[in-house]
């Protein structure tokens, strides 16, 4: 008895320690956000030197706090209200851990943990930065930390205790008990919050009134890292929706998805415009503006989700107090940065001179299209709110609008992309670029014609998507080939940044093909099947072999055994389930998928029907995996670029020993 009491006391102490270090982190962030700023202004070295130390300490404090909360979830400490509401002793360990961020309070703690991680990384790897710039960057990062730590402590404290700890918890929402969801939020947050670095660099540059090639080179790795994580995070979320929601949709244009997509689009634009600043000292003011907007969209995303102001499938925190708090944060940071921008942007003079047909112009077009696309998503997302407040109209803006209003810009972007990426700096000859792309155009046209012939009578989307996708992929290949001077031997010696660009652009093409073919050629069958019955779907013989009850760790399931054969040969045996989680009293559908390079077979088991059969839904999803495969290749492209020599050198140049240290 004494031993369990002791164990209980230790657990209580760990939780209180987490609470304490969280408050301590706020105090440290306050120091980090103010003193180095003053120091940088006055030229006081010792005050500036506080910044890296504070950033490190702040990270350690938040890490301890996060570890304490994780400990409470892992050991099922139901004296914490949050653990009681979101966990259960019978829950598998993976979901006990991921349950830490499967709720509002914990996810905000993860948010500030990652914020502090980026701040810490800038302190640890930012040795090559000028002292003033580093102090200012870390100070701005500290101020963001102050805002969000205060938000957590005053409106969303994860360490609130229950006087009488219940015997067991209410369990995590079953839909969240999924490996995809365990990893999706951390990646997404790494991306979202990573953009805060671009923001901090932008604000620091505005305070200094100086943006040059070196600044662009320092800010780009952070943006690249954030973009890469955001790409992976969005892909994971989309993949999860595909297999979990039970009908194979992968993108719903839901406000919360849009909230992650807008920063992605702006970050993509920022990546490209920062190249122009780095190489040609032009587009400076615009790049700064993009950096502010990119993080602004991250904050707007946080606001949309946390306030529930725009009703969405996702928004679960219908808590006005939190919404107002985040709106205030948004107003202070984005408003403040834009005011500063208005005063200082004029100082940033462009230097580079270039012709109308040049790589610079192409990158400007890239930025126009991406910015407009992000703007369309933004307007569509907030329009229901605007219409209600300004015009007293209660209306919806859903997928059909976005598909119609957003897609044209992506088509235009894809058409121009390979041309732009082959243009040389300063002055290009359009005829020459187009001639070298002729094989890509020919291939794209041929494969589109083939697609058209195979899918006669199906939507035009298929051949158009294939044409664009092949054009992008072949264009990326020609880009690399040209860079290598048309010699195979030189391909391997190209800088990683070139390979990164090639993979990112080619990956986009793969995703285009996946989206187009899956949407246009999807085959669907809904029917009542008797046990033992075989039916035909899109050339496959589907047999409902059996249905039985199975018992999971914390759920009961009805599991079907479905055989799928083609030309008399079995190609897959699938076990879709319908689960009921008794603690949460909630059912879920677990689709079973046979993955393939050219098609996914996707089956879902439904309810028993009156005549003794079962509702069975069968889908054939052509090229589905190309969507996420392409996205992962894009992210890999980001990684390749990130490890390019010029960033390793930039990060390690001031060290005594020239070690190659990645800037991330």
């Amino acid at each position: 008895m004494a031993l369990t009491q002791l164990a209980g006391m230790v657990r209580a102490m760990i939780a209180e320690l987490g609470h304490f270090t969280l408050i301590l982190a706020l105090a440290i962030a306050l120091v980090q956000g103010t003193l180095p700023l003053v120091g940088a202004q006055k030229g006081w070295t010792s005050w500036m030197a506080l910044a890296p130390a504070a950033a490190t300490l702040q990270f350690i404090c938040i890490a301890i706090s996060f570890a304490a909360l994780t400990h409470a979830f892992v050991t099922s400490d139901f004296s914490l209200k949050l653990v009681y509401e979101n966990s259960h002793t019978a829950k598998p360990m993976l979901y006990k851990v991921s349950g830490v961020w499967g709720n509002h309070e914990g996810s905000m703690l993860l948010w500030v943990l990652i914020l502090a991680l980026f701040g810490g990384a800038a302190a640890w790897f930012g040795g090559a930065l000028p002292d003033r710039l580093r102090a200012r960057v870390l100070a701005v990062q500290g101020l963001i930390g102050v805002a969000f730590l205060a938000f957590i402590i005053f409106t969303s404290n994860p360490f609130l205790r229950l006087a009488e700890p219940p015997f067991n918890g209410q369990d995590l929402n079953p839909l969240l008990q999924d490996p995809g969801l365990a990893f999706h939020p951390p990646f997404l947050y790494l991306g979202y919050v990573g953009l805060s670095m671009a923001f901090s660099f932008a604000v620091a540059a505005l305070i200094e009134g100086r943006v040059d090639a070196a600044w662009a080179r320092w800010v780009r790795p952070w943006t690249l890292a954030a973009w890469m994580f955001l790409t992976i995070g969005i892909a994971l979320g989309s993949w999860w929706a595909y297999y979990e929601l039970g009908w194979g949709g992968f993108w719903f244009w839901d406000p919360v998805e849009n909230a992650s997509f807008m920063p992605w689009l702006v970050a993509t634009a920022l990546l490209h415009s920062a190249i122009v600043v780095e190489k040609r000292e032009a587009l400076k003011a615009w790049t700064i503006l993009l950096a502010i907007i990119a993080f602004g969209f991250s904050l707007i995303g946080t606001f949309i989700v946390r306030s529930g102001v725009i009703t969405s499938v996702h928004a679960f925190a219908n808590d006005p107090e939190r919404g107002v708090f985040i709106l205030a944060i948004l107003a202070v940071f984005v408003g403040g940065a834009l005011t500063l921008y208005a005063f200082r942007a004029g100082v940033m003079e462009a230097k580079g001179v270039f012709g109308l047909v040049s790589r610079e112009s192409a990158l400007v077009m890239n930025n126009v299209l991406l910015a407009v696309a992000a703007f369309v998503v933004f307007v569509g997302t907030i329009w229901p709110l605007v219409a209600e407040l300004a015009f007293a109209r209660k209306l919806s803006v859903g997928a059909p609008f976005f598909e119609a209003a957003f897609t044209p810009f992506m088509v235009l972007l894809a058409v121009l992309l390979p041309i732009g990426s082959l243009m040389p700096w300063k002055r290009a000859r359009a005829g020459r670029v187009l001639r070298s792309l002729a094989p890509a155009a020919l291939l794209a046209f041929a494969l589109a014609a083939l697609t058209w012939a195979v899918g006669t009578g199906r939507p035009i989307l298929a051949p158009v998507g294939v044409a664009l996708g092949v054009w992008l992929m072949a264009g990326a290949a020609i880009d690399l080939w040209t860079r290598a001077g048309r010699k195979a031997g030189r391909l391997a010696r190209l800088p990683r940044a070139d390979w990164g660009r090639g993979s990112a652009h080619g990956g986009l093409g793969i995703t285009f093909i996946g989206i187009a073919l899956m949407m246009a050629w999807n085959v669907e069958d809904i029917r009542t099947a008797q046990i033992g019955e075989t039916f035909e779907v899109g050339g496959y013989a589907v047999t409902l072999a059996d249905v039985e009850k199975v018992q999971g760790p914390n759920f009961n399931a009805t599991q079907a055994r479905i055989g799928i054969a083609k030309d008399g040969r079995q190609v897959a045996e699938l076990f879709p389930e319908k689960r009921v989680y008794p603690v949460a009293a909630m059912p879920t559908t677990e689709a079973a998928i046979s993955n393939g390079v050219f098609r996914d077979l996707y089956v879902v088991i439904g309810d028993p029907q009156d005549n003794g059969g079962w509702a069975v839904r069968t889908y054939i999803k052509p090229f589905a995996n190309w969507i996420w495969g392409g996205t992962i290749i894009m992210a890999l492209g980001g990684l390749l670029s990130l490890t390019d020599r010029r960033y390793r050198v930039a990060a390690g140049a001031r060290r005594r020993t020239p070690i190659a240290q990645p800037a991330e």
């Binding site: 929402n173 969405s312 928004a315 270039f354």
Partner: protein
């Protein structure tokens, strides 16, 4: 913010109607052409009790009622627009996932093309200025910068 958030609200929708993944076998019309029309209309109609889900994907009871209603009207010989108009007259334009381009909504629809036009004009002005700008005199590197440069190049 995250794709994992649908859960709780989706849960509410699921609880109110025990699960029946979207379109049920007994709803499907015998005529495939009519059924295809029903599906494409359904994809553009909002499940009123859900959050941003169309009735074709939704599991809610109300979504099922609306799906059956759409099919009823189609079987009775309505055109696609007539079905949509009928639902709007009953539930208001909130039911349409694809907002009409009437009245203030025109702003929504011209936002994209308008922004593109402004962006292109802005880019055009900027590019013309860059083309005619004179290359600025390059200031020679200071001693410290020279040293730094050789450090970088030699590392």
């Amino acid at each position: 913010m995250a794709r994992f958030l649908p859960a709780l609200t989706l849960a509410a929708a699921l609880l109110s109607a025990l699960p029946a993944a979207a379109v049920q076998p007994d709803e499907v019309l015998a005529d495939p052409a009519l059924e295809a029309r029903a599906r494409s209309i359904s994809a553009g109609l909002r499940c009123l009790v859900c959050r941003n889900e169309n009735i074709d994907d939704s599991n809610a009871d109300l979504a099922r009622d609306l799906r059956l209603l759409v099919r009823e009207r189609l079987v009775a010989g309505d055109s696609d627009t007539q079905v949509a108009d009928y639902l709007v007259s009953r539930y208001g334009e909130y039911v349409l996932l694809n907002p009409t381009a009437r009245g203030s909504n025109l702003l929504l629809w011209v936002a994209g093309p308008g922004a593109l036009l402004i962006g292109l004009i802005g880019a055009g002005v900027y590019l013309r200025r860059r083309r005619s700008a004179s290359e600025p005199a390059v200031a020679p590197l200071s001693d410290e910068e020279e040293k730094r440069l050789s450090e970088i190049l030699n590392s």
